[in-house]
Amino acid sequence: MNIAVCVKQIPDPAEPGALNPDHTLKRDGKLILDESDSYGVEMALQLVDKAGGGEVTLISMAPNSETSGLRTALAMGAAKAVLVSDDALKGAGALDTAKVLAAAIKRTEFDLVLAATESSDGYTGTVPEQIAEVLDLPSVTFAKHIEVADGTVKVQRQTEAGYDEVEAPLPAVVSVTAGVVEPRYPSFKGIMAAKSKPVDAVTVADLGLDASLVGWAGAGQEIVAVDKAEEREAGEIVEDDGEGFQKIVAYLENLKVI
């Protein structure tokens, strides 16, 4: 079984984020693998392993031909990657991103497409389902458990009140929540091997897409303002001297919630 996994390379979430003067997210420094995507990569590796053969291919879109995040996922065990990098994609929205990723996925052999439910930086949460629609495939979002058997993917889909068991014939698109599996740490051997794994670097033109329709120009949206949000003031901060809990009790009593 072959699985395509969408992975995003993002600015380190530990660093404070910033916007460029044109209001796009600053993404010109070193990018890392979005931790949310490590779950999809791990799930894919386990499913391929269970199926007894096949490959995991990473699909990514990033500026400046960035591959450092891809190398992390390759080190985990993915076989190869398709990386779309093109100046024309600056300012691309979720819909554009889905079109680009779908076109990149079509360059590979796949039975299943996995993605995180949303990225940690842009967090639109719409891309996986949009990819499914572009590819004309069934999809299941918010998977907390996945099994594949006899050409069918069986998913436990998170719901408000519990979960639904959903089945779909392959090929299909599934987005996974964190915790669906425990991602492995890349081994030293994996890290060394990742350096020589193939990364198919492509442009928008290579994908047969019209560059004027997938970047800023085609996004159908325009940022008109970026304002500072109302700040919340810090209140009383006290060092616990063994009686700190009394402060909490008094605070709750004052609010009449106890």
């Binding site: 495939l137 999809s139 889909r157 810090a234 106890i258």
Partner: protein
């Protein structure tokens, strides 16, 4: 300037219309002359509530027969819109199904959908949506320029639900077109988890735990305290990712938005990802051993101390009072 027609994607648990739907209906009335709902189910079960909150009509698909709402309702909406019944704006809740419906529809109409919005205004005839970024420290306002219908996903708790005093919404059948391969995913079984106590996003008091608890077993403290306060237990993303508690407990950007009367953060440092989901709480109390933890910058009461020492004493004190 107001819009002539606004649709709201309506959701319900059984016949109880979800709060996010009612919140969006209130905003839709402010923005549009006519407000209508679209529902993936039996319209008769929700027509009274939707009408009482301002929807004059509910376009309902009837039972989806195991098909997922994303593709079924998204395709039905697209067919109605291309058939000539296009609203100026469609609001979707940031929920499991709301995101799917908006996503499918956006591709079918080839129009962008804006995610995570907490406010919507109309500028001339253009729709402008506000999205908090960087943990809610900045607000980005984006104008949609692709033309009607404008697609906007709304964060829960952005608006106050309010009755309009209207009568039941007229139920109109909305047909689901042939979905082809995209309709082949089917719900074969539903599992309801036994819920005790109030729901996380509706509770007046939320007690959340984070990495500072040290180990999975210590989450019990969070649950005990939540129960004592008749609140709901929540969690930071770090301990959900670590598998200590299920995803349904997660408060934050990825997860639930909560605005309780009191939010108690235990061993949570306050990553931007977490703060965006709880900084709207009326009162915030934090316990963390790191005095520099960002959570203290938005806390009304902060205790710099070890959760393993402070919380057991707090639990004991509260137990003694009841």
């Amino acid at each position: 300037m107001s819009l002539s027609k606004v649709w709201v994607y309506a959701e319900a648990d059984g016949d109880k219309v979800k709060t996010i739907t009612l919140e969006m209906l209130a905003k839709a009335r402010e923005l549009g002359d006519t407000v209508e709902a679209v529902f993936g189910g039996d319209g008769d079960t929700v027509a009274a509530t939707l009408g009482a909150h301002g929807a004059t009509k509910v376009h309902a698909t009837g039972d989806l027969d195991g098909r997922l709402p994303g593709v079924a309702v998204g395709s039905a909406m697209a067919a109605a819109i291309t058939g000539g019944n296009a609203p100026d704006l469609i609001l979707f809740g940031t929920t499991y199904d709301g995101r799917d419906v908006a996503s499918r529809l956006s591709v079918k109409l080839d129009k962008p959908v804006l995610s995570n919005n907490t406010d919507i205004t109309v500028d001339g005839d253009a729709v402008v949506a506000s999205t908090p970024v960087f943990g809610g420290t900045q607000i980005v306002r984006t104008k949609l320029t692709a033309g009607a219908p404008n697609l906007v996903l709304v964060r829960p708790k952005s608006f106050a639900a309010e009755e309009s005093g209207g009568g039941a919404a007229a139920v109109e059948a909305l047909s689901v077109p042939d979905l082809g391969a995209t309709g082949s995913a089917k719900i074969v079984d539903r599992h309801l988890e036994e819920a005790t106590g109030p729901k996380l996003d509706e509770a007046a008091i939320v007690v959340s735990g984070g990495r500072g608890l040290g180990e999975a077993g210590k989450y019990e403290m969070v649950e005990t305290l939540a129960k004592l306060l008749k609140g709901a237990p929540g969690a930071s993303r770090a301990i959900v990712d670590a598998g200590w508690v299920p995803y349904s407990h997660q408060v934050g950007q990825t997860g639930k938005v909560v605005k309780p009367t009191v939010y108690i953060a235990l061993g949570i440092s306050g990553a931007t990802q977490h703060m965006v989901g709880m900084k709207g709480s009326k009162n915030i109390i934090a316990v963390n051993k790191d005095a520099e933890a960002p959570i203290f910058s938005i806390s009304d009461l902060g205790i710099v101390g070890d959760v393993h020492k402070v919380v057991p004493k707090l639990i004991e004190a509260l137990q003694a009072k009841t």
